[in-house]
């Protein structure tokens, strides 16, 4: 995986994005099937293989057309989206830690977002939590310790709110592309 040339990485990313409307399992299977062929090839050989494979958009269209009709037509529920984002942003305040973790679990469990989008969301959200906790612990007992508490409460909120916007926009583009 780490031996891939930039051409391969770009192609796999395009393929994964194009397959966003497909079920996660199918998407993973196609991407890993293509990846195992391209891994470890030099740039020249990889480019030849990629030319043979063709446009990711066409591959994705073929894959989605090959799904049984109900699965392809099913629109992901917007209730799931709303619930997930609500847990992400305020879950941690309602049910400390656990509420927020449940939000992350729902993000990971969704079949709508690509692995890349999930990775971004989870790592930024976890990063914000670490920063908030560090602020609280480092500034505790100082004369301006209140600042630590404020950072602890607001940094995750602001970051998660931004992520919620990002996730909602990715969701909308996928669901629109689906119908």
């Amino acid at each position: 995986m780490n031996t891939s040339s930039p051409v391969v990485t770009t192609y796999l990313n395009r393929l994964e994005s194009a397959l966003a409307p497909a079920p996660a399992e199918l998407r993973a299977e196609i991407v890993s099937g293509v990846r195992e062929e391209l891994d470890g090839l030099d740039a020249h050989a990889a480019a030849a293989r990629i030319a043979e494979l063709g446009d990711p958009a066409l591959i994705a269209a073929e894959a989605i057309a090959g799904l049984p009709a109900p699965a392809a037509a099913a629109t992901p529920s917007s209730v799931y989206l709303g619930f997930t984002l609500a847990l992400l942003v305020v879950g941690g305040y309602l049910l400390p830690f656990v509420g927020w973790l449940a939000g992350l679990a729902l993000i990971i469990g969704s079949s709508v977002w690509t692995r890349r989008v999930k990775k971004i969301a989870v790592s930024l959200s976890a990063g914000a939590a670490v920063v908030a906790l560090a602020a609280l612990l480092i500034l505790r007992g100082q004369s301006y310790g209140g600042v630590g508490l404020v950072l602890f409460l607001f940094v995750p909120f602001v970051v998660n709110l931004g992520l919620a916007y990002f996730l909602a926009s990715r969701w909308t583009s996928v669901v629109r592309g689906n119908s």
């Binding site: 299977e29 890993s32 090959g66």
Partner: protein, 110 residues
């Protein structure tokens, strides 16, 4: 738009062609796709995986991790016993079927 007759026909038999290929030897996705594309049975690797997914869901095909001839780790697809008997069933019906259809549509060029 006129119906693409070739596409309709392929749709009905491509999964049995995959079973047939896997009966010869367990194979990884890319190789299956290459062979089927070359012979005009599928349009791209994108067509292959939904079919493989269905075959796996039906328990006709299973996946295993193996190392290929070139030393790279691969996921190999192979037939289960149920897959073999499904292929046998298809084989038994295919010859009489094509011969009946040929009789009905006529063997002479129109």
């Amino acid at each position: 738009m006129a119906t693409d007759i070739g596409a309709q026909l392929r749709k009905g038999v491509v999964e049995f062609c995959i079973l047939g290929l896997l009966h010869r030897e367990p194979t990884y996705g890319w190789k299956l796709s290459e062979e089927l594309v070359e012979r005009g049975m599928i349009a791209s690797i994108g067509t292959l995986y939904p079919v493989l997914g269905r075959l796996r869901a039906q328990g006709l095909v299973v996946l295993s991790d193996q190392v290929s001839d070139s030393g790279r780790p691969r996921k190999y697809y192979s037939l289960t016993a149920a897959g073999v008997s499904q292929l046998r069933e298809f084989q038994a019906q295919w010859q009489p079927f094509t011969s009946t259809v040929s009789d009905l549509v006529g063997r002479e060029k129109i």
